[in-house]
Subunit: 220 residues, 2 copies
C-alpha cells in the first residue's frame, strides 16, 4: 500500500507528453474490447494491437493509476474508467473557436469532442455573411463580440482556425479575456504568456514529413 504522500507526488510529476498522446488510443481500444465482452486485457495484448512495446504500455497504465493482475492483465472496466478520468472526459471544458472557415466548420461538426470533454459553444469570424448563422447548432458571432461573451462565460479553451496572419492578434484577444489554453491550427508560432497552454496542430508539418519520407524512399 502506498502512502497518500506518494500518491500526491505521483500526480504532481507530469506525465510525459508521448504517453498522454497514447491515452486516447488505449481508451478507444479498451472500449471496443468491452463491447466485445472482454473482461481482462493484458499489456502485451494491447501492445500487439497498437504496435507498441509491452513495457511501455504497462508504464502508461501506471500513470492512470491502474495496476494489473499478474498473469491476467488489466480489468477493462477499471481501465476504461481510469482512462476517461485521466483524459478528463467527465469534466466539461467549454471552448470558443475563431475562424469559421472550412477547417473551423469541420471541427465544429466533428462532434466527438463533446464526449472527449470539450464542447465548442460559439464560433467567431470576421466575415459579415456568417454572423447570426449557426453550424450544427453552434452560433457564429462577429469577432467583436468575443470579449462580451468571453467575460460572461467561463471559457477555458480557445481554438484558432484562422489564416496565418490573423492568428497572433486572435491569440492576444484570447489571452486578454482569460482563456487558459489555445489549440492552434494556424501555421505560426504564437507568442503568449508562459502560463498559457498552447497546443499546435500544424497540418503542414505532417504533410512535410510524408513528402520528405517519400522523397527519401526514392533515393534509398
Amino acid at each position: 500500500m502506498e502512502t497518500v504522500q506518494e500518491t500526491i507526488s505521483k500526480k504532481l510529476q507530469p506525465v510525459p507528453e508521448p504517453s498522454v498522446r497514447r491515452m486516447p488510443q488505449y481508451l478507444h481500444l479498451v472500449r471496443s474490447m468491452r463491447e466485445k465482452g472482454e473482461v481482462y486485457v493484458s499489456a502485451p495484448a494491447i501492445a500487439r494491437v497498437l504496435n507498441l512495446d509491452p513495457t511501455q504500455v504497462v508504464k502508461d497504465m501506471a500513470y492512470t493509476g491502474v495496476t494489473g493482475k499478474t498473469r491476467v492483465g488489466f480489468s477493462t472496466e477499471e481501465l476504461q474508467f481510469a482512462l476517461e478520468e485521466f483524459l478528463g472526459y467527465n469534466r466539461k471544458h467549454e471552448a470558443f473557436l475563431v475562424g469559421a472557415g472550412f477547417l473551423g466548420s469541420a471541427l465544429i461538426q466533428y462532434q466527438g469532442f463533446r464526449e472527449a470533454g470539450m464542447k465548442i459553444v460559439a464560433a467567431f469570424d470576421t466575415d459579415k455573411r456568417k454572423f447570426g448563422t449557426d453550424i450544427q447548432g453552434v452560433p457564429v458571432f462577429s469577432l467583436e463580440k468575443f470579449h462580451d461573451l468571453a467575460s460572461r462565460l467561463h471559457i477555458s479553451i480557445g481554438i484558432i482556425t484562422t489564416p496565418a496572419g490573423a492568428a497572433q492578434p486572435v491569440a492576444d484577444l484570447m489571452v486578454a479575456w482569460g482563456i487558459k489554453a489555445i489549440w492552434n491550427f494556424a501555421p505560426v508560432a504564437l507568442r503568449v504568456p508562459e502560463q498559457i497552454i498552447v497546443q499546435d496542430t500544424h497540418i503542414y508539418a505532417n504533410l512535410a514529413v510524408i513528402i520528405n519520407k517519400l522523397g527519401q524512399q526514392k533515393n534509398g
Copy 2:
C-alpha cells in the same frame, strides 16, 4: 566547395523528424520576410520569432544545404528556394482521399496543399448520396471505384478521414493498389507493410494533451 559525394551522403542520412516538422514554419516566415523586402535573415532572428534555440535553427538550415554568411545571416531568397526544394513543393504528389465527411471535405477545400506539393485528385465514400458530386472541383466516387482509378493513375498518397472502424480496410485497399504513403486521421493504429509510410494526425491526441495540462495546472 563540397564534393558530389558529400552532397549525396548528406542527402542519404535522414533528417530528424522534428527538424522536418519545423521546415514549413521556416518557409512561411522566410516568405513573409521576403515580401517585406528583407534580403538577409540571421538564425538568431528566426529563433526569436519562432521561439527556438538559435543553434537549432542553424542546424536545420544545414539540412536544406543552405549555409549562412557570418555576421549577416542567410539569404532569404536562397533560403526560400532551398526550403521549397527540401519540402518538395516543386514536385507534384497526387492523392486520393477516402471518407468525404466533414473533415475530409475540409481538407479538400483547404487548398494550400496544392502549393505544398500535394494535390487531392479524387475522393471516395460509401454514402450513395455523395457519388457523382464534387467538392471544390474534386469528384467524389464510390469506394468500389477505388481500384479502377488507382491502377490507372499513379497515386502516391492516400488520405484516410473515415470513422475509426473503416480505417484498416481502407488502408489495406490503399496498400493493395500501390499507394506509398498514408496520411491517417482516424484514431486507430494502422497495420501496413513496413515499406509503406504512415503519418498519423490524431486529433484527439492533441486534445488530450491540452486537457491533461489544464488539469495539471489546476493542481499545481
